[in-house]
Assembly symmetry: C3
Homo-oligomer: 334 residues x 3
């Protein structure tokens, strides 16, 4: 892609030669002429201007006085980190890769695979599956019957998807993730004392632009649906229970768990190792600090408010409690 | 299965035509004539009676006055949820599926596979393994040497079992689970400062009717055995350390961890993200609230008593502490 | 290996016939003549001396008066557990196993595999990979392009390694682990409200003698490197975020998480389910109790000092706080 076009795509102002060809983003040290790099901190500007990159993304205020005489083209943006991320996205999409089905991939009956989709070695695609345009099913992925993938999805490798799950467009799933597994539901039989499995026959629906981390697990609905909303991002080893409903642009850090039938509204932010019990509702834009815990059926409300502790409370309150306790313990000691 | 037989199997009273054929359980909306549905809440009764299902499971007290004239057969049970779960189980077992070994499955020497077992694509079954009647080894499962599976087991897909593990009958293991892996044991060498691996050469034994969630891990014994007792249910990403002993009908929710040599007696209930340290004993029927933590060598005693917090204490005590602390912090603020 | 040589290798003093051949370590009950067993507790000494083992490792002080007349050779060491671990290591290395590439393994272009390396069924090895002498790539492992494994590595089974990761010598990786996956980094686009993925194009470097548990995940650097230092041991389901730096001989128990850019210096010990936020520094030899939490950018200092709680504080302080709180709550109740 010409640098001029890239500038336009990412909303940056071009300084210098817009005709050069850019193919990749890079960090500063290994950058070559076909790469663009970025500078978020003016201390690294000189290094960036001297590195092998074809162009540098930087802030207006960081632009050196002699920018025009340096010879290295620059893309000026108020948020270089965002501009760099956008550049990576734009360049990734520009790549056209030919479709293929590896000879060792097993494709069952009545499967539709787009001509430009890529199916890697030892993938297993069950009957009635659909794989959309430009989607990638990595090595060792297993798709149960009736799974649908939209366009531009990437199942990196060794992803397992149970029967009937539906993924939208541009969904990225990292290695080892399990999607659509049975929820954890049992009815105790009072006569025998044993647990009888409650049927887990619902579905999993994942909307567009979701990213799911390595070894994460998302259970399908027991009878109804589990839903992961558009643009939501789940880190490694996040667990989502059956019938949970995640809104748009929810972000959940590593090793957090969302229990059955919990609702996370749009723009909720969840730190790492947070535990959200069943039937909890986290309302729009609330923020849960790392390791906090939300007991069953609680409602957490407060756009932009941080909650912490178990049971989670507004962070100011929690910190006050910690301070009071610490003071008491110190007094006791003296 | 005739509805009459199903009624008998699940201990329900039949109203209406017992000759209809039922093949599956279903939720209300998509139900067809061969399905049975259930109603746990009288608000959904009308919907259920009008849906496509062949029969409805409901409570006696929810039975409409005109039940006999409705025409839809009903199965009356005091606990419709349990009856529905039992129905699912009875119908699942009634299905007879022919056995097969997929041509891409690799079966090593001296393996015994029951004629009606099903071995899916790209499964790898090590030497001296045994796979019992009607058991299913899903795609991409890997069984080390000498693994034994009883009857009616289901390794859904991509389950890895290390050499020597023994699974009983009707054990269900979800995708990505790892069974019989090496425990975490090292001896520090004072001369070099490095950790020398302590041999992990024991076994893993899983009794009948156990269910293990997606991406869970269970380590084998270091020298002795790790044991998962009959009827125990482990949710996704649960970790069980080496030499742990779990009794019958233990239930552990997602992302909890049980360290080496811990003992959980029968009927213990463990919430999500609970941490149980090594050599802990949780006595019969105790309940550990989500995210609680049990320090090393502690004994937790109290059938039906809920423990919470880290270190875990009886929940009443813990809540009292939280209340006192909150009051102090509020006072301080005023 | 002759018992005499084994004694020398593990630094033990030999009593009795050093000419016998030892091939394995074992627990007491199933031991045969080619096995060595150990006794850490004098109560088990008699049992050990009477078992089928060829030799017994024990403490000098536990040596019976009639040791010379018993006939069973003994290896005397001040730390029998360590000596036993060393014996296991020495015997494991003595085994020479012929190399092979299973016919179903897929090896892409320009791969170098040592003649005595073992590549199991359905492994996929991407272009430009290197597999060192005596390394084992288990069934179902997937190595992206340019991955390098040193000598004597063991990828047990179904390990996924993303492109470009470099593993040193004697690295053991258990089933289901994912190495070099994308870090969790997104830039929020204020115009659209959506998260744009920040490029995750750095590397993962794992030094010699590291062991990684089942279903663990380690992300590569965003731009730079994630580093796991020599001799470090990670238990099952540990998560390491992008650009984290772990020093030598760090030990992390199951289900703990280390966020992006955190630094754990050498000899740090981390209990289970600990959460370490981004940009934290844990200095040399500090110990983090199970379930403790370290908030963002904190520095934890104190060789041999145990920290506990969230936010983590020295354990003495934390226990004092717990005691004060418990006393207040009890008083309140009375």
């Amino acid at each position: 892609m010409r640098l001029r076009e890239l500038a336009e795509r990412i909303g940056a102002t071009l300084h210098g030669n817009g005709d050069i060809e850019i193919r990749n983003v890079s960090s500063i040290a290994p950058a070559t002429l076909a790469d663009v790099v970025f500078v978020d901190d003016v201390r690294f500007l000189e290094q960036a201007l001297e590195c092998g990159a074809g162009a540098v993304i930087a802030r207006e205020s960081d632009l050196p006085a002699n920018a025009d005489t340096i010879g290295k083209p620059m893309l000026i943006h108020a948020n270089p980190r965002l501009a760099f991320a956008r550049a990576a996205e734009a360049l990734r999409r520009a790549e056209a890769v030919p479709g293929f089905v590896h000879p060792t991939a097993l494709i069952e009956q009545n499967v539709e695979i787009a001509a430009d989709a890529r199916i890697e070695a030892y993938a297993v695609i069950g009957r009635d599956c659909r794989v959309g345009a430009r989607s990638h099913v990595g090595s060792g992925c297993i798709l149960g019957a009736g799974v649908t993938l939209g366009e531009d999805c990437d199942l990196v490798a060794r992803v397992t998807i149970y029967a009937g799950a539906a993924l939208g467009n541009r969904v990225v799933v990292h290695a080892g993730a399990v999607l659509g597994s049975d929820g954890f539901g049992f009815a105790r039989d009072p006569e025998s004392g044993r647990y009888v499995k409650f049927p887990q026959i619902g579905r999993l629906r994942i909307e567009d632009d979701v990213e799911i981390g390595a070894n994460a697990t998302i259970d399908r609905g027991a009878l109804g649906e589990t839903v992961i909303g558009r643009g939501t991002k789940l880190d490694n080893m996040v667990h989502i229970g059956h019938n949970a409903q995640l809104g748009e642009n929810v972000v959940i850090a590593a090793q957090s768990g969302v229990s059955g039938s919990a609702v996370l509204e749009r723009d909720v932010l969840v730190g790492g190792q947070v535990g959200i019990a069943d039937h909890v509702r986290i309302e729009e834009g609330a923020i849960l600090g790392a390791q906090s815990g939300i007991p069953t059926k609680k409602v957490i409300r407060g756009k932009g408010i941080v909650f912490w502790g178990t049971p989670a409370r507004p962070i100011a309150e929690y910190l006050r409690e910690l301070a009071v306790l610490s003071r008491l313990a110190r007094k006791k000691r003296e």
